[in-house]
């Protein structure tokens, strides 16, 4: 009687012997064709993860759309905020640096804007993704889907905002009747791709780690603040880079350029602002932008893309290693 329940080793006592007659399911997987087997295990290859991610691309679109819809749902100005908010930041920086600190750069607003656009994308993506798994614990605990998609959707949302803000930039350019460096536009697009891949890598990493260390979402705000001033958005690239060069601080110089966001920002500024040197009173060769030739930008961005893709795979691996415990940690 009680023999089965008393054994320590669980054994398969019976394998289905149906009492009700049934027709095994036809259709998909029928006709002798095997159904797709999915393996749930703690060791899933990176390839399988990437494939799952690719299969969930529609979900990515829905999640981005949800973010866009929900974010400004109950505010009166709604979606306009995505443009108004950076516009106000821009205005503050502009007033402070142009009038209080007497920055001599002509069209300073455009210079600022081209850098801030990039920064906003990066900042929105990283801050949003750091807390995204924790914020969506409800579905992480109850629904099976590739969780990385949550982090990536934050990058997607940030990218959509980027394009809305870029529209404002276009309005600025038209308003000022300002012509960007058309030949450098491919560089700008390349830079944007780099930025998205790099942000995605960071987003995936941060979202996973934040499940275990909830400080990350706060820490990232502090770090981003410091990071912002390490990127030539408000001041000119030459101001810092030139200073290192003059003091023979070669390694600092390289370190400064090694900041991925700096690379992206100077490439973007080169395309949008366009003018490396401008004439100002007292200095006919005032350096505004990083003075690099086209191919150097290509190399820099190419290098960054390779590194970013590497980082992305690395982040996916880390995510894969620790995501198995998400449902229990949340």
């Amino acid at each position: 009687m009680g023999t089965v329940s008393e054994t320590d080793v669980p054994t398969v006592v019976g394998v289905s012997s149906r009492q009700r007659s049934f027709v095994p399911r036809g259709g998909r997987g029928g006709d002798g064709q095997e159904l797709v087997a999915r393996i749930v295990s703690s060791r899933v290859t990176l390839r399988a993860r990437l494939r799952e991610l690719w299969n969930a691309r529609e979900l990515f679109v829905f999640l981005v759309r949800k973010d866009l819809k929900v974010k400004y749902k109950n505010s009166f100005l709604g979606f306009l905020w995505s443009m108004l908010n950076p516009a106000f930041v821009l205005l503050v920086y502009y007033v402070v640096f142009k009038y209080f600190l007497k920055n001599p750069t002509p069209y300073f607003a455009l210079y600022l804007f081209s850098g801030l656009l990039i920064w906003n994308l990066f900042q929105t993506a990283t801050t949003g993704s750091a807390s995204v798994i924790v914020a969506n614990s409800g579905i992480v605990k109850k629904v099976a889907f590739p969780r990385e998609i949550l982090a990536l959707s934050q990058v997607g949302t940030a990218t959509v905002f980027f394009f809305f803000q870029a529209l404002v930039l276009v309005v600025f350019l038209v308003g000022f009747q300002y012509s960007p460096a058309w030949s450098y536009l491919p560089i700008a697009v390349f830079a944007l791709v780099d930025l998205i891949v790099f942000s995605a890598a960071l987003a995936v990493f941060l979202s996973a780690v934040n499940v275990y260390f909830r400080d990350i979402e706060h820490l990232i705000l502090v770090l981003l603040n410091a990071w912002f001033w390490g990127v030539p958005i408000i001041y000119s690239y030459d101001l810092v880079y030139g200073m290192f060069a003059r003091h023979n601080l070669g390694w600092l110089e390289k370190l400064y350029l090694a900041n991925p966001i700096t690379t992206v920002v100077i490439a973007f500024q080169r395309a949008i602002y366009g003018h490396v040197f401008v004439k100002i009173t007292g200095n006919p060769h005032y350096v505004v932008l990083a003075n690099y030739p086209y191919h150097f930008f290509l190399e820099l961005l190419g290098g960054l893309l390779v590194v970013s893709i590497g980082l992305f795979f690395g982040a996916m691996l880390i995510f894969g290693r620790i995501s198995g415990n998400f449902a229990e940690e949340l």
């Binding site: 149906r18 749930v40 409800g138």
Partner: protein, 411 residues
């Protein structure tokens, strides 16, 4: 055909942190020695689920049944071992998980469907069907935060079943919504069964599982105890419960001692013991449906009574009288002299189904005045090996006349 779900030596370990250190500072301070206890929710579980079968997972709370379901669904990854799942899986662990309150029902159908793995085209294709099944035609463009909980659950269920899965995983969600909708859900599950789809249901309601499952996996403390047809599996499960004395009847209600609360300070007849006898006594703590059952009452008479009658009453655990009778006048006039005696009530074949039953005994004098009482006198547990559910095992057989032939099946 290979099995739909193969559970290959699956173990799942949880860390139960004695204190939750999820901030960096705390983690650093307790680096390497965060106090936790290991807890094995599943231990080396091996099972195969055949395509087209409906399999139940039964166990007490914390026995690992939901963990296993989550491993099959891919929500949790096993610590060791793996689960191979063949076919499209729909997991109903929580209906409406992931609904965005700020979005309309329409948007949520797309978002949730997509989350469950449906393509946009599939969702558009089934949109009307989903709305109709959920009975939300008039509210589909309202924000979900204005939905009642019933509406939310209906929408969640409707989306999940629209997935057209090969394998449906259900975690006690069928017990939600109003009764009519529950019925609708059950009908949908039956349809899935008829389609030959695989269904895995987690529940602690053995009656529900008995009525729908072909086979049941019984878990106890992370171990797979048995994998057998419902009658056998539920018997093993209940045995386990009884062995642990974890029956749902609270301690206070357990009829441990014989309480006598009749008017006289000292009853004329004292019921000294009431025992239940059945063929399996000593081996198992329950009676099997259809077995003989004897209730033996020992009593002591303190002052002689003439024309005494013994009465027995059998009650369900919901306090409903199922059966009551007394030794009436047709018996020889019972003269109880002082001293000890006994009376037995014999059932040749007990027609009761699963459950715990209470027995009341009383003694009355010729005038019908209660002179001795034991209420409840004792209780017994019944196990039922058949597929029938309910309270009474009515004797019956089924005759089906099909065109061209006559087939007679007995239960």
């Amino acid at each position: 055909m290979s099995s739909a779900v193969e559970i290959q030596n699956v173990s799942k370990r949880f860390h139960l942190y004695l204190e939750k250190y999820s901030s960096l500072k705390e983690r650093l301070m307790h680096l390497g020695h965060i106090p936790y206890e290991e807890f094995w929710a599943l231990r080396d579980v091996k099972a195969e689920i055949q395509p087209g079968s409906t399999v139940g997972i039964l166990g007490r709370n914390g026995s690992g049944k939901s963990t296993l379901l989550k491993c099959i669904a891919g929500i949790l990854q096993p610590t060791f071992g793996q689960v191979v799942v063949r076919g499209k899986v729909a997991a109903m662990l929580e209906l409406g998980a992931g609904f965005q309150p700020d979005l309309s029902g329409r948007d949520n159908i797309f978002l949730n469907g997509s989350l469950l793995g449906l393509s946009r085209r599939e969702i558009s294709h089934r949109f009307d069907e989903i709305v109709e099944f959920a009975e939300l035609e008039h509210f589909i463009d309202n924000q979900v935060k204005y939905y009642s909980s019933g509406m939310t659950v209906r929408l969640g269920f409707s989306i999940a079943v629209s997935m057209d899965p090969d394998i449906l995983l259900v975690d006690e969600v069928l017990s939600v919504g109003d009764e009519r909708f529950q019925q609708k859900c059950l009908e949908r599950v039956k349809l899935f069964q008829e389609d030959g789809r695989t269904i895995v249901v987690v529940s602690h309601s053995s009656d529900m599982l008995r009525s729908i499952c072909d086979e049941i996996l019984v878990f106890d403390a992370g171990h797979l105890v048995t994998y057998a047809p419902p009658g056998e599996a539920i018997r093993v499960f209940k045995e386990g419960l009884l062995a642990l004395d974890a029956t749902p009847v609270p301690e206070a209600e357990l009829p441990v001692s014989v309480d006598i609360d009749v008017a006289p300070a000292r009853p004329q007849v004292e019921i000294t013991s009431v025992t239940v006898e059945h063929p399996g006594i000593g081996e198992r703590p329950y009676v099997v449906t259809g077995e003989p059952l004897t209730i033996r009452v020992e009593y002591a008479v303190h002052s002689a009574v003439d024309g005494a009658q013994f009465a027995i009453e059998i009650l369900s655990d919901k306090d409903q009288t199922l059966f009551a009778t007394r030794s009436s006048g047709s018996e020889e006039a019972m003269l109880l002299a002082t001293g000890a005696g006994s009376v037995t009530f014999c059932f040749d074949s007990l027609p009761l189904l699963d459950g715990r039953y209470l027995v009341n005994i009383d003694v009355r004098d010729a005038g019908g005045v209660v002179i001795g009482l034991a209420e409840p006198a004792c209780d017994f547990e019944v196990m039922n090996p058949s597929k029938a559910t309910g309270v009474v095992a009515l004797p019956m057989r089924i005759e089906v006349v099909v065109p061209g032939s006559v087939r007679v099946t007995s239960p």
